[in-house]
């Protein structure tokens, strides 16, 4: 069994722009190969041929040497779930516990940490980039560059009028989905969040939970992305999202001021209580943890907690997910046991001071 390279971790640094509100920025481009059936409708019939074609095209090119290919039938279930928790692959690529991943599922890790390509998801290729903080143009540029490199050696399905063709018509054209993961506790506390989300929908943006489509909002984290992909130049789609995200960040800062003005004592108390619970709890469910992390993250943003930064929180969020805990424990964990391991991890992480 292959060991997993430690990739997809750069974003947790919390070093990017607006890191007090924005956790990460992602861009993905949906691409399909000419001459094969799309993933979801063929039931994976062409999956193996698609993967073989991608492999041989990449091997024939120098560029392929700088990439790492992780074929899902060469890594175990736990490793697949770790990739999912690092948001390098989607639930669809991992598949259900009964059926497993679709045939030919693979992940290509590019030369940079934030760059990867899912093979045989709903579309044959999903080029994706991930950055810490707000970094939309950087994320788009890197995805664009990878798209150029891949498209020059692998013939893509492209239509003169419709653009890049995808399995679902909602991705046709640019195939571009740009999304920003934002932490909006101020807007939630002041009850303004509904208005903001409604407004987003009116200007062609959607808000989803942490794990993307269909996932619940946990820990006041919202993933905001463009809804349509056709009829606009890629840079304009990205710029539009960026303008709106900056506006949302502004609203969030205003809301945080209101929270502090109206209830500084209560807020401070809630932040420190959450911090205290994280520091001393012996058992934590993921849902409880996410709620507490949100309060502490708000505390860092309001400069109420001096000795801790967002890097520690991001690290906790990532490494206390199920598969990561099981990997560290070296065995499967029952839910109650997992909560014990999670609390232990959190206590340890909080005892280390950030430089």
């Amino acid at each position: 069994m292959k060991t997993l390279p430690s990739r997809g971790l750069d974003w947790i640094s919390g070093s990017g722009e607006n890191s007090e509100v924005v956790l990460s920025t992602r861009v993905r481009l949906a691409r399909n190969l000419q001459g094969f059936r799309f993933g979801s409708s063929s039931g994976g019939l062409d999956g193996t041929s698609v993967l073989n074609s991608v492999k041989s095209n990449l091997q024939a090119d120098d560029f392929g040497d700088s990439c790492i290919l992780l074929e899902f039938d060469q890594i175990n279930r736990l490793q697949q779930r770790i990739l999912l928790e690092r948001r390098l692959v989607s639930p669809e690529l991992v598949g259900t516990e009964e059926d497993g991943p679709p045939s030919g599922s693979a992940l290509i890790l590019g030369p940079n940490d934030g760059l990867s390509v899912m093979v045989n998801e709903e579309d044959h290729l999903r080029i994706q980039t991930m950055f810490s903080g707000l970094a939309l143009s950087e994320a788009w540029d890197m995805a664009d560059e990878m798209d150029e490199l891949l498209g020059a050696v692998i013939p893509f399905a492209y239509h003169n009028e419709f653009g890049f063709l995808t399995s679902c018509p909602s991705n046709v054209g640019s195939g571009l989905r740009a999304s920003v993961l934002v932490h909006l506790p101020g807007l939630v506390l002041t009850n303004e969040i509904g208005k903001v989300l409604e407004g987003m929908a009116q200007i062609g943006l959607t808000a989803r939970g942490l794990y993307g489509e269909g996932s619940d909002v946990v820990g006041n984290l919202f993933q905001i992305s463009n809804q349509t992909t056709l009829g606009k130049i890629e840079e304009n789609l990205v710029d539009h999202l960026e303008t709106m995200i900056r506006r949302v960040i502004g609203y969030e800062h205003e809301a945080r001021q209101v929270v502090m003005k109206d209830g500084a004592n209560i807020t401070e108390d809630r932040v420190w209580r959450a911090y205290g619970l994280l520091k001393h709890a012996r058992s934590l469910s993921f849902a409880e943890l996410m709620g507490l992390l949100s309060r502490v993250r708000l505390g860092i943003g309001l400069k109420l907690l001096p000795d801790i930064g967002v890097y520690t929180l991001n690290k906790i969020m990532l490494f206390t997910q199920k598969a990561h805990l099981e990997e560290a424990a070296g065995r499967p964990l029952a839910p109650a046991e997992r909560n014990l391991y999670r609390a232990t991890y959190v206590r340890k992480a909080l005892s280390i001071k950030e430089a």
Binding site: S41, D147, G151, K195, Q202
Partner: protein, 177 residues
């Protein structure tokens, strides 16, 4: 735009009826929400927003299917490459292969217009591994417009990179042609 939900708020205009329509306006500086009853909202010409794309995709695919029966294409018509039928697409919302876009062109053009508000791609122009002269010309056109955009935005480094690409393509074209 407007949305309706249950609320005990009263109408901002007549102050007599329960507000059922809530309008949120987002401007450069503020977010403002107004509340109207059904009658006042209608008087002001405020209409209900369309359902979200995901929720309405199924409905409108069927709706278009109804319209197209016998006229545009037969819903029993199958794709020449993957044999998928339009009825299947209407059920799953997923197409079978890239040929479907050619075989169901008229129908899909309408679907795309409904989803995106446009059916014409104006973004990146793809240059395949073995391009035709037409594809090269289209790509050059796109690169040139990208270069002027970069210059306009004062992204000179980017503009220079695109310029190099244009020069490279023109050279290759001269040698190849």
């Amino acid at each position: 735009m407007a949305s309706s939900k249950n609320s005990a708020t009263m109408c901002d205009l007549c102050k007599a009826n329960k507000a059922v329509v809530h309008v949120t306006q987002i401007t450069e500086v503020m977010i403002n929400t107004s509340h109207f009853c059904k009658k006042c909202a209608a008087d002001k010409g405020i209409t209900q927003p369309e359902k979200s794309i995901k929720a309405s995709l199924y409905d409108f695919l069927n709706e278009i299917g109804e319209e197209s029966r016998g006229s545009l294409i037969s819903t029993q018509h199958a794709c020449s490459f993957c044999s998928m039928k339009v009825t299947e697409f209407q059920r799953t919302g997923r197409l079978g292969c890239s040929q479907c876009y050619t075989d169901f062109y008229t129908y899909l053009k309408r679907v795309l217009k409904r989803i995106h508000g446009s059916s014409l791609h104006v973004g990146k122009v793809y240059l395949p591994p073995d391009p035709s002269a037409h594809q090269v010309a289209k790509r050059l056109e796109f690169l040139k417009s990208g270069m002027s955009r970069a210059v306009r935005k004062e992204e000179f480094e980017k503009a220079a990179l695109i310029r190099d690409e244009i020069t490279k393509m023109q050279l290759a074209d001269e040698i190849g042609g």
